[in-house]
């Protein structure tokens, strides 16, 4: 980065610094053979302090969610809160999804960020200086102490809230059928234990995880009890009865498989990460 580029960065942050002055500051370090990026960093920090601005303001880029690629970047987004999730981590203030016209991304607002406002679903905000990170190859953003969030009047349109998928169900994935959920966090229990809360008395639920395939692409779909009942005629109570009678929970899954495999469906779905949550059954053949 040369003096002009640094000057440009300051201009974007609303501060005018003459390239000459930057040049001069950089010159001071030349004789010490300090690495170039360390020189840039020090000069920028000095100038930021002089002008009373936060250094992260210099690094942040205003971007669209669809363009988020690398981690550990400072970004500024204008986005709508699509969904807020229940959160029981004490270090987290809020967690959910935000979206703009190019995509949807998960956001974590840390308690430490001390954001004075609480996000509300359906409202749009300017998120200044979020930091990106990656989890399992997926980009997320987080609000940190350097982040500022302000509500904006503009109504940002979040991308792809619902899509219509049509195809045949070609596979039913493990974890479908009658399951038990943790009464506290609603997670599905594995061998009677919750990942967060250990051994708990689970609540029965019915779900379907399947693959819908249209011959061109395969989609992972997820259906909750209400939809499963509509597709198969099996209610949670009926499923419990079936399992009790057979002394085996898997009979429910077998019955679901018989009802859905190889048949054609059209669903209205909400994309969630790489999965599609079935919201509505449009057609069954």
């Amino acid at each position: 980065m040369n003096s002009n580029e640094i000057s440009e960065k300051f201009r974007n942050a609303g501060v005018t610094v003459a390239p000459d002055r930057i040049e001069k500051l950089m010159e001071n370090y030349k004789k010490f053979s300090v690495p170039q990026n360390e020189v840039e960093r020090t000069v920028m920090r000095t100038l930021a302090n002089e002008n009373g601005i936060d250094i992260t303001a210099l690094y942040t880029k205003t971007v669209k969610i669809g363009d988020l690629k690398s981690e550990d970047e400072w970004v500024t987004l204008m986005a709508k809160v699509v969904q807020l999730w229940d959160n029981d981590h004490e270090a987290v203030s809020q967690v959910g999804l935000i979206g703009d016209e190019t995509g949807i991304v998960k956001i974590t607002v840390w308690k430490k960020a001390e954001i004075p406002l609480l996000l509300e679903e359906g409202k749009s905000y300017l998120f200044k200086n979020l930091v990106t990170n990656k989890y399992l190859d997926r980009i997320q953003v987080a609000a940190t102490p350097n982040t500022e969030i302000e509500e904006i009047k503009e109504d940002i349109q979040a991308k792809g809230k619902e899509v219509t998928l049509s195809g045949a169900i070609v596979d039913v994935i493990n974890g479908s059928g009658l399951i038990k959920r943790c009464p506290e966090c609603k997670r599905a229990l594995v061998k009677g234990a919750c990942g967060n809360h250990g051994k708990v008395e689970g609540i029965y639920d019915l779900r379907l995880k399947a693959v819908l395939d249209d011959g061109k692409a395969a989609y992972s779909i997820l259906a909750q009890a209400e939809i499963v009942t509509k597709l198969t005629g099996i209610t949670v109570d009926k499923a419990k009865e079936m399992a009790t009678e057979a002394l085996d929970q898997s009979v429910v899954n077998v019955e679901i498989v018989k009802k859905v495999i190889g048949r054609y469906f059209t669903f209205k779905c909400a994309p969630i990460d790489t999965n599609y949550l079935v919201k509505e059954i449009i057609e069954v053949i």
């Binding site: 070609v170 395939d213 018989k258 495999i261």
Partner: protein, 195 residues
Amino acid sequence: MAENANTNTSSNPQKFERETAKRVFAHEFKGAVPVEKLGNDQFEPAYVQTALGEKINRVFVVGVATEAEDVSNGEVMMRMRVADPTGVFIVYAGQYQPEARDAIMNLRVPAFVAVVGKAHTYAKGEQVYTSIRAENVNVVDEKTRDRWVKETIEITRERIKNSKASDDTKKSYEGMVETAQKAVSANSTTPPAEK
């Protein structure tokens, strides 16, 4: 909703894409040949390639099961013949496909069936035999079969259009599509014969 976030994090961290279940008529499938593996990845899927150039790993077919028999010979194996308007698929299910095997075992032919499975080839001398190793088999109805035939007609037409095969080959497959077309048109005008 938090639940969904959690199930997602348990998904495979590696980039794994499920093979799409291709739609293909029996006549086109029958002429498929194995594609040689590149061999630089032990998890590389096996493909067959049809005369129209479609590379197939997984297939989805709906047709009429005309025969289901136990062909166990040392290891457990069920075989089923599934007819579509253009020909017959040979479907196998063995010890590693217990659900599909049970479904074939409990089948009373003739019946409309949907089959999801992997394309297999077996060479005997000059002759290459294609078959489907079933992952899922289910009894369906006539409406599902008709929908499959219509869908496969559309997909095959597109395939012919984009194919680099010779004009003669394309023409012969156009004939196959017409045969299939006639079969569904006939179905939709006349009531089902049986019962």
